[in-house]
Amino acid sequence: MSLTYHLQIVNLLAALLLLISFAMLSQRRIAGLITLFAWQGAALAASTALVAWSTGQHHLYYSAALTLVLKVIAMPWYFFRIVKKLDVSRDVEPMINIPTTMLIGIVLVIFAFNLTQPISEMSGTVMRSTLGIALATVLLAFLMMITRSKAIPQVIGFLAMENGLFFAATSATYGMPLVVELGVALDVMVGVFVLSIFFFQIRETFDSLDLKHMEKLKER
């Protein structure tokens, strides 16, 4: 009986995840973006922990903790620092204007649900539509990367994508083997580290993090 509660809560969290993705899609200010990213991480961690508790998959606790530490505390803090250091406060107007982006996003969500419908049918796990939501999150993050024309938002989009994947891994399949998850986490960490190096390099070379400076390499 309690399962249904968890189920509902996890579904709620999933919905929250999706909502946050939309919010990120519409968010112009970088600071806000980072906050939203942190919240997304939090939701993810919560859902992971819940799944772990409800299904007794103990290694999921680790990944929940990992998520909490990395995506809710470390990275946002780190990003805030970078933003402060490089004082890049506002994002410029995105490539496609917000309402259009939203519309596209909604279409994507429907597409994702349709796509995962047959799979969710046969899913043995407690969650039914979480896979769909995960895919939707991934696609929305992808969309966000496309629309943003500055370095940091793009990276945040990238990490949001990672979140979606994590959610898929945990909720739809009770988590990958631990080694894999650790590896993934390691990669993400290193990735962020490398990125931060990049930010400084780019900054000192182009004295801005605007991607429009980085369109020199092309076929002329």
Binding site: F158, L165, M176, G191, I197, F198, K216
Partner: protein, 483 residues
């Protein structure tokens, strides 16, 4: 046992070089570690020749004839590249393009990169495979931006973002794979082990696997450089230091394709239809054609050969897509030939550009006069990569094209067109670089040409004679890939 050596040596090498810093002898040490890796690889290969495929470390590592020759190839090219990079990077340093800090970074991440690739090749776990691929990307990102020029930074950024996204999609594919697998194998560690998956591939859920394969193909395909996911490749290959271009073109692409093939085997088993094959043929053909036409407009020599890598990867993918004993055999052969030849070309090009102080082909003239060995190296390498016998690249192209004509005639016009255009473009641009008059002086130092001619010699030999055991590997591997 050898497997641990194989992985341990480059890892320690990376860490050691990172800590050791940039002393006088770090290039030599780099070479030394690569040599040791090569030895370990040789031992492993020997072992495999002795007693066939094996799983090591509780099934975490799996070596069969498919990946063992890739391991050997990787170790070999890594070693020769290290040989080449020793004098090359020295000169770069003298030219003041690099300082000690970056050289240290270069050496350590070079080793890490090798480690990542070897891990990706030898692991039995699809998840670890993904991790290793991502690690390889991360290791090379900073190498691409080593010069800190705007161009190199831009290239590195695109490389990172595009490959990152791609690899993320691949992760989703892996998750789906796991999702399908755990129903059969039960959750836990074993569900991602390729050997287990391969055992039960017929029982895996087709719809999920077809979905998974799309993600895996798009994901790893980005790293293979299949059009239209190839956009990062020319930038990354052209802007990094030449040794890095050599290993990227010669090795990383192979590893990515290896990942695709591992998943294709599973998907074919599960679906029992041509879906995966057709997708790969489509991507391959598209890449060949697009690359050929893009080659035509190049002015930067490294960029041009980067596109040529796309073309050849497309050809290999196409061949794998066709499937069947002959095509797979040809594709494996072509993998080998391409990495040997392309790296050799990059070595020669590296010296040439270093001498001319520019990568623009218009600035490089009359090599045959200023330095005959480099000139002939470049000329013969180009001829080889363009698929002119008796060089080995032709052997595989021969098999691929004839098989295509026999099994999929509709594809051959595109191949004919693309190969013709590519030939015209590349040769037409290389010829004046090698031949003709020039007033530039001779090369001031002795270039490291052993690697160039070692590779070309091998390619020439393989074009005329393939040792029986090598052929045996190829055949087994082809079998394994569903020949």
């Amino acid at each position: 046992m050898e497997i641990y050596w194989l992985l341990g040596i480059p890892l320690t090498g990376g860490i050691f070089l990172a800590l050791w810093g940039c002393r006088k002898h770090s290039p030599e040490i780099n070479t030394l570690f690569s040599l040791l890796t090569l030895l370990a690889a040789a031992l492993l290969t020997h072992r495999i020749i002795e007693n066939g495929p094996m799983t090591v470390g509780g099934g975490w590592f799996f070596i069969d004839s498919f990946n063992v020759f890739l391991v050997a190839l990787t170790a070999f090219v890594a070693f020769t590249t290290a040989l080449f990079s020793r004098p090359y990077m020295r000169i770069e340093q003298e030219h003041g393009k690099l300082n000690d800090k970056r050289l240290r970074l270069y050496h350590s991440s070079y080793q890490i990169f090798i480690f990542a690739m070897l891990l990706a090749l030898t692991t039995n776990n699809m998840g670890i495979l993904w991790v290793a691929m991502e690690a390889a990307t991360l290791a090379t990102v900073l190498l691409v931006s080593l010069y800190r020029t705007p161009a190199s930074l831009e290239a590195a950024w695109k490389y990172f973002i595009l490959c990152g996204v791609g690899i993320a999609l691949a992760l989703f594919g892996t998750i789906l794979l796991y999702f399908a697998a755990e129903k059969v194998l039960g959750s836990g560690g074993t569900a991602l082990l390729w050997t287990h998956l391969n055992g039960v591939k017929t029982e895996l859920e087709p719809t999920v696997l077809s979905l998974a394969f799309v993600f895996l193909l798009v994901g790893y395909g980005t790293k293979v450089g299949l059009a239209p996911l190839h956009s990062w490749l020319p930038d990354a290959h052209a802007e990094g230091p030449t040794p890095v271009s050599a290993v990227l073109s010669g090795l990383l692409l192979n590893v990515a394709l290896y990942a695709v093939m591992r998943s294709k085997v599973l998907v074919d088993g599960a679906l029992g239809n041509e879906m995966a094959g057709n997708l790969m043929m489509g991507f391959g053909l598209l890449s060949v054609v697009v690359a050929a036409f893009l080659i035509k407009r190049q002015t930067d020599v490294k960029r041009m050969f980067a596109y040529s890598s796309i073309e050849h990867m497309g050809l290999i993918t196409f061949a794998f897509g066709m499937g069947g004993a002959v095509a797979n055999f040809a594709a494996l052969l072509h993998m080998t030939m391409h990495s040997l030849t392309k790296s050799a070309i990059f070595f020669a090009v590296g010296h040439a550009t270093q001498k001319a102080g520019s990568q623009l082909m218009a600035d490089i003239r009359g090599l045959i006069k200023t330095n005959p060995t480099i000139g002939w190296g470049l000329m013969l390498g180009t001829v080889a990569i363009l698929g002119v016998p008796p060089f080995g690249v032709f052997a595989s192209e021969f098999l691929i094209i004839t098989t295509a004509m026999h099994d999929h005639p509709w594809a051959t016009p595109f191949l004919l067109l693309a190969l013709g255009v590519a030939f015209a473009s590349i040769f037409g641009k290389v010829q004046p670089m090698v031949f003709g008059e020039t007033e530039s002086a001779k090369l001031p130092y002795q270039p490291a040409l052993t690697p160039v001619f070692l590779h070309l010699g091998l390619v020439l030999m393989l074009g005329l004679f393939i040792p029986p055991y090598l052929a045996a590997w190829y055949r087994q591997a082809a079998q394994l890939l569903g020949g």
